[in-house]
């Protein structure tokens, strides 16, 4: 699936560049894209080191498993394959909280850590486990309380009320998240019916 999408994006792009005469732009865009990717990755080092360092303390002190414990009633329904009190749940919850408050640079390291833990449970397989798919699906929809970037753009353009879209954003993202959970469940049932993955 990824291979197909990746190849299609590139090949369709190249064919279009030939037809449209945008080959010059495409040449530039290729290396611009590569550069941007490296910039993002390098930029992530600072937040990754900072948050993973802090979370290590929380992990060793037991704060994280306490968090996981609090989250257990809901987590059991959404992530039935993850054992209760597993550190993965602590990371998942912290990731959700960070996302809600628009703290993207804290959410990503916590989410990566959650994926690592889920991957351990998966036995480091090639294919994502059911819980990993659920977790990523939740993150693509993520409940948002404060859309900080959007508010700042609205302020720049002199909105009478920059924060008035907080309510609509919250409701839309909440419904999207609930839908993501349900769609994920439907796909899981379909996979199981097909047998195995």
């Amino acid at each position: 699936m990824v291979n197909l999408i990746w190849m299609a994006l590139l090949l369709i792009g190249l064919v279009f560049a030939g037809i449209n005469g945008t080959m010059k732009d495409v040449n530039e865009a290729m290396f611009q894209g590569a550069k941007e990717a490296v910039t993002i990755s390098i930029g992530l080092i600072s937040v990754l080191v900072f948050w993973l360092g802090l979370m290590k303390i929380a992990e060793q002190s037991g704060l994280l498993s306490f968090f996981a414990h609090l989250f257990r009633p809901i987590a059991k329904k959404i992530f039935p394959e993850v054992p209760s009190d597993h550190p993965a749940l602590g990371y998942i919850l912290s990731n959700m909280v960070a996302n809600m408050f628009g703290l993207g640079n804290a959410a990503t390291p916590l989410g990566i850590k959650a994926m690592e833990q889920l991957n351990k449970l998966n036995g480091q397989k090639d294919e994502p486990s059911r819980s990993m798919i659920t977790f990523v699906a939740l993150n693509t929809a993520s409940v948002t309380l404060i859309p900080a970037t959007v508010i700042s753009i609205r302020m720049t353009y002199h909105s009478a009320s920059p924060g008035e879209i907080i309510g609509t954003t919250f409701v839309a993202s909440l419904i999207a998240t609930i839908s993501a959970i349900m769609i994920d469940r439907a796909f899981y049932i379909r996979r199981r019916k097909k047998g195995g993955m």
């Binding site: 990746w6 560049a17 290729m30 990754l48 802090l54 929380a58 990523v136 909105s159 924060g163 879209i165």
Partner: protein, 177 residues
Amino acid sequence: MYVIQFLSLWLIPMVIACILLHGTYKRVPTYEAFVEGGKEGIQIAFSLIPYLVGMLVAVSVFRASGALDFFISYMKPFIVPLGLPPEVVPLALIRPISGTASLGIVTDLIATYGPDSFIGRLASTIQGSTETTLYVLTVYFGAVGIRKMGDALKVGLLADLISFVVSFFIVLWMFGE
């Protein structure tokens, strides 16, 4: 509004204080644990590079070639009957693929139609309520070295679609046309 702004400002410092206090109370060697955990961060960031380079190059080529614009103009007639204003259709289509591109479109829509217009509010809500699905998948699966995405992409894209439709109705309902 102010409560939320206050919270977002104080949340991180309070979380840090809580972790440090609890760690010290439980006799965790805090500094050593921090350094040990931080080392993992460097490795993760570096292992992400190939995944992100692959994905961003493909998206950039698709965009710069004009293919993206072509597909958007081609899909417009199918989406407009749903009631969505045609101005936000490109945003809805780009949002899952590229975060920077969609942010550019939102800024442009807000600048053109005003932040307090229907289109401005709708664009703000769409941008705020969903994540860049392709980026999330690339980073999270890339960080643990999983190349297959399973059903995650389909689930993510369907959830995005629902989010756009819901955004439209919520903005319509809360602010009117």
